[in-house]
């Protein structure tokens, strides 16, 4: 099974700051990969480069064999890679349902260029309502997106990304800013929503419990490099990872 996403020799620096130093990653289809690392380690930079927001200084990114390195975010989305954001990017003045409706309309029309949407209003509404149900957003359907609790906003952001019907979904800190007791709930919803669509998922997380529970494979970043790569159990016990990412256990003398 060939890799669905392959990064080779990715490098990116901002002046003296090295955000990525010769990153090589191969992601298998349908896998769930967790990206961990302290702030500034290069996780979001990696996602930004994969989605075209940033261009690497050197290296290539291949999606299903095609070189997507020079492409614009819009084009990469059309090819089948979608992402959610650390700060949810929503249409704040619209209600939750209208957010999704707009997203469905945009995706459908973009798919058929400038034609007035290859999708009928009815079909769009059906797809929207189904998505609302899948993500448990029915209760909020008529509320403006701008006033929702953070957890709901995150779910809506991810739902909008899924409207694209991507083959790779990148989640940037899906549970950050969400209360502790809601975190697992959100990941559960997202993972089951995604299961039915056969999507490869990469998610950035700081919460190691979440990573442990949902990731099949973990990549640990530090200083622009991947310092560990493997099953969650192994990576989270790795010495370097403990040193640079998770932190040491503190022994207090009595």
């Amino acid at each position: 099974m060939s890799a669905i996403l392959e990064a080779r020799g990715l490098s990116k620096s901002f002046g003296a700051v090295i955000a990525a130093a010769d990153i090589n990653v191969s992601v298998a289809r349908d896998s769930v990969v967790g990206l961990i690392g302290s702030n500034g380690a290069g996780k979001t930079t990696f996602i930004n480069m994969v989605t075209g927001y940033m261009k690497p200084g050197a290296g290539t990114i291949r999606f299903e064999g095609h070189d997507i390195t020079p492409l614009a975010p819009r084009r990469i989305t059309q090819l089948g890679i979608a992402r959610s954001f650390q700060v949810p990017q929503l249409f704040n003045s619209l209600a939750v349902r209208d957010n999704l409706l707009a997203a469905v309309g945009i995706v459908a029309a973009a798919a058929s260029r400038w034609a007035h949407g290859a999708i009928t209003r009815e079909r769009a509404e059906t797809v929207t309502d189904e998505m609302l149900g899948r993500f448990g957003l029915d209760a909020y359907r008529d509320k403006p997106a701008g006033v929702l609790p953070e957890g709901v906003r995150k779910l809506l952001d991810i739902a909008m990304a899924l409207v694209v019907k991507p083959r790779i979904l990148l989640l940037d800190e899906p549970t950050s800013g969400v209360s502790a007791d809601e975190k697992f709930g959100i990941m559960d919803v997202v993972m089951s929503a995604v299961k039915s669509d056969r999507v490869t998922v990469l998610f950035v997380e700081h919460d190691m419990d979440i990573v442990n529970r949902y990731a099949q494979r973990v990549l640990a970043f530090y200083d622009g490099r991947i310092i560990a790569d493997g099953a969650p159990g192994a990576v989270l016990k790795d010495d370097e990872v403990r040193k640079y990412v998770i932190g040491e256990e503190l022994h207090v003398a009595r």
């Binding site: 819009r74 249409f91 945009i106 973009a110």
Partner: protein, 311 residues
């Protein structure tokens, strides 16, 4: 809601056309000007819906006027239909080119760059003596669609033309706003990033809307040129663009009817102010704009909607 707007448009137009034979000249003239400028504001409202405020619509207003006028002045063509066609085409061509650049800007840079372009044209026109420099020149129209206009009927013919064109433009824009591209424009104002990450091109929509606004501005300018019978470079001066912005803020962007509504109010107040209190006209504008921004950010049209909903 859709039917409502189109019905109102047709109703008002029918009313105006029916009342034409009985209307005094000065009223017909006022309404013509108000509607013509309302067209420019309609274009500006579209841009504002997309999240952009242009301080340079005067450019296309002026280009449209000069295009129409030059057919008479330089090419010896005195037919209103052809003149208006020129008033539509020249601005569109210019906007297609300028839009390539302007579509990359937002916020105050978009406002300032659009202002700069209108001032560039202003600067060129006031120093061009063959075009009358700062005085401009007169425009004479003799026929429309080949039919000669009888003496003294110019005003009424232009008012009819303006009313008809306004209805067509407003109706078309209404359909556009309710179409996918119209909704995309509103989404762009809300969150461009999200739109790009859903696979749509923000740039293309912005460019398209810019060209549409230019077309509307051009027709408005052409109609003004015909109705007034005279054009001058002041049409491209930034304060003219400022007035369009004022009317847009005054009316709000809630409906395609709003700009015309606001424009009529504006022209009425302007006429009164010129008569009775020319020295506080600008102050009145300023205070009104502040009041609208502070208390009625959606424009006067919001008052209408509230009443309609309460009813």
């Amino acid at each position: 809601m859709t039917d409502h707007t189109l019905r109102v448009l047709l109703g008002v137009a029918a009313l105006l056309l029916a009342g034409l034979p009985f209307m005094p000249q000065w009223l017909a003239f006022l309404i013509t000007l108000a509607l013509a400028r309302g067209l420019v504001v309609l274009g500006l409202a579209l841009l504002m819906r997309t999240g952009l405020v242009s301080f340079g619509q005067g450019l296309y207003y002026c280009l449209g006027a000069y295009a129409a006028a030059l057919l008479d002045h330089a090419a010896g063509i005195h037919d209103a239909a052809l003149m208006l066609l020129a008033a539509l085409l020249i601005p569109v061509v210019v906007a297609l080119v300028l839009g390539l650049l302007l579509a990359s800007y937002r916020g105050i840079f978009f406002a300032m760059l659009s202002l700069a372009f209108s001032m560039i044209v202003f600067g060129l026109l006031i120093k061009t003596s063959s075009l009358g420099s700062s005085d401009g020149f007169n425009v004479a129209t003799r026929s429309i669609f080949g039919i000669t206009i009888a003496d003294g009927y110019n005003g009424r013919v232009f008012m009819a033309a303006t009313a008809i064109l306004s209805v067509i433009a407003a109706g078309a824009l209404h359909r556009y706003l309710n179409s996918h591209l119209g909704r995309l424009s509103a989404a762009i104002r809300d969150n461009e990033l999200r739109v790009e990450y859903l696979g749509a091109s923000v740039r293309n929509v912005v460019h398209l809307n810019y060209v549409i606004a230019a077309a509307l501005g051009g027709i408005g300018g052409g109609l003004t040129a015909l109705a007034v019978g005279h054009i001058d470079p002041d049409m491209a001066y930034w304060t003219t663009s400022g007035e369009f912005v004022f009317v847009a803020v005054l009316s709000g962007t809630g409906s395609v009817l709003a700009p015309f509504f606001g424009s009529v109010i504006f022209e009425a107040i302007r006429t009164l102010a010129n008569q009775y209190a020319p020295n506080i006209w600008q102050m009145t504008l300023g205070i009104t704009m502040l009041a609208i921004i502070m208390f009625l950010p959606a424009g006067l049209w919001a008052l209408f909607r509230r009443k309609a909903r309460a009813a």
